[in-house]
């Protein structure tokens, strides 16, 4: 199969930049902006597509670890044993359907929210402090990954201070 996204995405982007953008009415600001955003998204997809699977696997592992820790803390490990066992199988085999990985991570996100809600509802100050600390540590890593993934979209005041997503995922060296 030759029509692969690794060359089609840059080709579409190039055509939009070289042919369509110059032909667009310069006074139509909404059209100009939407086309530039379309090009921007295509360029991000083209440059980071090869990291997507590693990103998703990393998310799966971290969310499973967080859910496992919280479930253990709250005595609810049995409630999520099946889901976490599937994560274990994926990690052990190193092979999985990419869509299944995303779906499990989504479930784990909700499991974490539910466990945290359960923990806070117990009214135990020590337990709540432990949960807050875990959530902050979890968010520190999660947000570092997310900010790196969208770094090229221009929302960082000091982009050089954000380690690249390739570096964070162990796919590049500093």
């Amino acid at each position: 199969m030759e029509l692969r996204p690794e060359f089609l995405l840059p080709a579409i982007s190039k055509t939009l930049k070289d042919v369509i953008l110059p032909a667009l009415d310069e006074t139509h600001q909404v059209a100009q902006e939407q086309l530039k955003l379309a090009i921007g998204f295509l360029d991000i997809l083209a440059s980071q597509r090869h990291l997507l699977f590693a990103f998703d696997l990393d998310e799966l592992a971290r969310h499973a670890e967080m859910a496992r820790g919280l479930a253990g803390l709250l005595g609810k490990s049995a409630d999520h044993a099946e889901l976490l066992a599937e994560v274990g199988q994926i990690s052990g085999n190193g092979v999985a359907d990419p869509d299944r990985i995303v779906a499990i991570t989504r479930q784990l996100r909700q499991v974490i929210v539910d466990l945290v809600e359960d923990g806070y509802a117990r009214g135990d100050a020590t337990l709540a402090a432990d949960i807050r600390h875990r959530m902050n540590e979890y968010a520190r890593v999660q947000l570092a990954r997310e900010r790196a993934w969208v770094l090229s979209m221009g929302f960082e005041n000091a982009p050089d201070a954000v380690p690249s997503i390739a570096l964070q995922l162990g796919k590049a060296v500093a």
Binding site: L37, R109, Q110, F155, N157
Partner: protein, 404 residues
């Protein structure tokens, strides 16, 4: 398909009315906000945004004008107006027999919602507060409203066209005015005017204004709770996937609600990018986007100015300029002097976290949801904005790590 906190898997793109009712009970808020959010849920399963020609919109506009004016009028030179990620805007000329003035030709603006907006708000409330603010602050004159889309394709209002810019010519900025660099020439005079106007707004006697579309909160935390419930409901209704740290922030905000010492009118989006100024005089010519205004805590505004992500460093790289205007400590000191109202730095920090949370709700929740349904006139803009959520969440995370 989406998974709610406690319940079966279901489709948020086709919400069950019973599920919406359950959220309404779980997150009680102001009646007008409730009305707007419930209307959005009723429309959710409907069609996406279909490109509208200017002539289609003018047809609806003329129907509204026939109803409101009655006599002869002519609409001409209608054109798309750029700016803003959430509303469709058209500028046009209207010739009409204006009460008290006679034959008049003036330039007006139609602000209309798409099927779903980045922020779902009330045209009725925007119309009312613009009327009330006329003569208090620089705001556009407001003329007519079609609150339920009876005449136009969607709810809309008509207001006066105001000259001015949101940022100096020739300075590049991001899509909605985040991090605007006004440059040294405009920074000082605009900063002083922003503080002056904020103080006027917070001291304005809303109790004498007979606000019909606003609920009047009891002293204490009722207004804070309404506000939190509003955004918690938006998150539940719109988010595509759970984001545990957004839920963590919602929990922290609810358990740290500060009582309000004086209920004020708050614009609720009082920032760079939401005022126009004249590049010749450096004077603010209009405050825009009053759609989120409510009665609450003045610290809400101050907390928004304290959000680092909305500012940028000065030319020397030595100081962060809040919203591109001045360092936050100076802004708070000047505000205290101008208003005579104290600022409580703990409350400022609270509302700093609130704005980071609200930004995440809007851009990770509603923006993604609206674009997934193809509901806006610029889906890519609202998706692009979603990337700004993570910096906001990181700012909130750092605050919580520091203050607990």
């Amino acid at each position: 398909m989406d998974m709610p906190t406690n319940g079966p898997i279901f489709d948020k793109a086709r919400p069950d009315p019973a599920w919406v009712d359950q959220l309404r009970r779980r997150f009680p808020t102001e009646r007008e906000w409730d009305h707007v959010l419930s209307s959005k849920q009723r429309r959710r399963a409907g069609p996406g945004y279909t490109p509208l020609a200017v002539s289609d919109i003018v047809g609806g506009l003329e129907a509204l004008l026939r109803h409101e004016i009655g006599g002869d009028f002519v609409v001409s030179d209608a054109k798309w107006l750029a700016g803003g990620a959430s509303k469709l805007q058209i500028a046009f000329w209207l010739e009409w027999d204006k009460p008290g003035l006679g034959k008049t030709r003036e330039r007006l603006v139609l602000r209309m919602e798409p099927p779903e907006s980045a922020v779902e708000t009330s045209r009725a409330r925007e119309f009312e507060i613009l009327r009330k603010m006329n003569g208090v602050l620089a705001v556009p004159d407001v003329y007519w409203v079609d609150p339920d889309g009876t005449y136009l394709q969607y709810p809309a209002l008509v207001c006066g066209f105001v000259n001015g810019v949101t940022k100096p010519s020739g300075i590049t900025s991001s899509v909605t005015g985040i991090g605007i660099n006004f440059g040294p020439k405009f920074r000082e005079p605009l900063g002083a005017q922003v503080i002056r106007d904020m103080a006027i707004m917070h001291k304005w006697d809303w109790q004498a204004a007979d606000l019909q579309s606003f609920d009047l909160p009891e002293p204490g935390t009722q207004a804070v709770e309404w506000n939190l419930n509003h955004w918690a409901r938006v998150w539940e209704e719109d988010c595509n996937e759970a984001v545990p740290f957004v839920s963590e922030l919602a929990h922290w905000l609810r358990h740290n609600m500060p009582p309000i010492d004086r209920v004020s009118l708050t614009h609720n989006d009082f920032r760079s990018g939401n005022f126009l100024f004249d590049e010749g005089s450096g004077q603010i010519t209009s405050w825009l986007d009053w759609e989120l205004a409510h009665l609450g805590d003045r610290h809400q505004e101050l907390g928004f100015f304290a959000v680092d992500n909305m500012g940028h460093m000065n030319e020397a790289g030595t100081e962060l300029l809040s919203h591109g205007l001045m360092p936050i400590n100076r802004l708070l000191e000047e505000y205290e002097k101008e208003s005579g109202l104290p600022d409580d730095r703990r409350k400022v920090e609270y509302y700093r976290v609130f704005f980071c949370y609200r930004a995440a709700v809007i851009i990770l929740g509603t923006c993604i949801r609206a674009a997934m349904g193809g509901k806006t006139h610029q889906d890519l803009t609202v998706v692009w904005l979603s990337a700004f959520a993570y910096r906001n969440l990181e700012e909130a995370r750092e605050i919580l790590e520091r203050i607990g």
